[in-house]
Symmetry: C2
Subunit: 236 residues, 2 copies
């Protein structure tokens, strides 16, 4: 993570013996992809140095990271932008859309439902559910809010692959259990609790207050600021 350093665990099941991509690298791939989008439209090739500046990281790190995807740079020239974009999108599984379900249509859920960035980057929000009977039946961003009790059937019907939990902390684990039972294997959790899920299910968390607390630490310890010089890299 942001910092949060991300996941742990999973020493087993290599299964892709070829080239396992280190977790730290995986966390940065979306950053590189985003950085490519900042290049002028007519840019044909990009050097590791230039990409590094855009991504706010070290050039050697860019080269090492990209080398895990295969060797497709040209020495003396750089990386062909289109090819690089394609390879990264392929690795990240972005050649297809991943339909998203948002659980909890409070203020945050609302904001997330409206966020264009999800669709733009391949994650269409296809369904909303909430436990509040007062919200069920209302329409948000063109989507009807369904009762969370119907979560299972909705996941199946809409082909949901990814669940976003934007509920109060108290019910987040319960919701996670329901998502897992419905077959969802990717969860983005905004509730400030640690979720427990079975092996094979991925969880990433975003805890807003936690981010501020980390900033407060550095604010207080004024001699060793995080991210000095450039924006931080937050582990990607």
């Amino acid at each position: 993570m942001v910092a949060e350093r991300s996941s742990d665990d999973s020493p087993g099941l290599p299964a892709r013996p070829a080239r396992r991509i280190p977790e730290a690298t995986v966390n940065r791939l979306p950053l590189y992809l985003r950085s490519l989008a900042e290049l002028p439209d007519d840019t044909a090739t990009v050097s590791s140095e230039r990409l590094a500046v855009l991504a706010g990281v070290n050039a050697a790190k860019v080269r090492k990271d990209l080398s895990y995807l295969g060797s497709f740079g040209t020495r003396g020239v750089g990386y062909e932008v289109e090819h690089l974009r394609y390879q990264m999108a392929r690795q990240l599984g972005l050649t297809q859309d991943w339909p998203v379900l948002i659980v909890g249509v409070g203020d945050l859920g609302h904001a997330l439902a409206k966020y264009d960035g999800f669709l733009e980057r391949g994650f269409p929000v296809v369904a909303l559910v909430d436990a509040d009977a007062g919200k069920v039946g209302s329409v948000v961003e063109g989507l009807e809010v369904h009762d969370v009790a119907r979560l299972g059937e909705i996941v199946a019907a809409a082909g949901v692959t990814t669940g976003i939990i934007a509920t109060p902390a108290a019910v987040a684990q319960e919701v996670a259990d329901q998502l897992v039972a419905a077959g969802v294997r990717s969860i983005l959790n905004f509730a400030p609790v640690v979720l427990s899920v079975p092996p094979g299910v991925s969880v990433r968390k975003v805890d807003l207050a936690m981010e501020l607390q980390i900033l407060a630490f550095y604010e207080q310890h004024r001699s060793a600021p995080a991210g000095a010089g450039l924006g931080i890299g937050e582990e990607g």
Copy 2:
């Protein structure tokens, strides 16, 4: 994960705070603090093992992390909850409030302004600014929305220490520059761009689509899930 840091070694500060706390540890302190809050009210002491389960990490890591704060556990017993809470809050600078300014009152800014978790954890949102003349003057959550042009005076008047950027990506760097010029040293950035800031200013970022892309990677590579077994740790 994580934040880059430039060399410090800044002399002049009285008494080196004993041990420098590693960045990975700093990133977990808020997690532990949150975990303590999940204990029953009458809990007097907690073991590293119990805290580890709550935080979703390894017990050795908990002990090592806490040891950087000083040695105040009791062998054979555990850590006194109140003391632990105090020490962590002290290290994180949470014995005081850190007034927050939100820049950009779109859907996300709105949701953030309403989020109770900030105030509860010591980060009162004291001001809102936006560049849209149509929004300036409106009242959100009891706070008037001011023109971003007045950012400097507002930061000074309200004692803002921390800025949250919830603007479109295109203006985020400009906003960051204004925040820095106004004296803000801690920035939480929701815009999907890498911010460049001078040394001494900390930036943390939250990129929602990026999180989904990371999940998509593991979804696609079904054999090496992130955070299998338990929720992932930030971290990062």
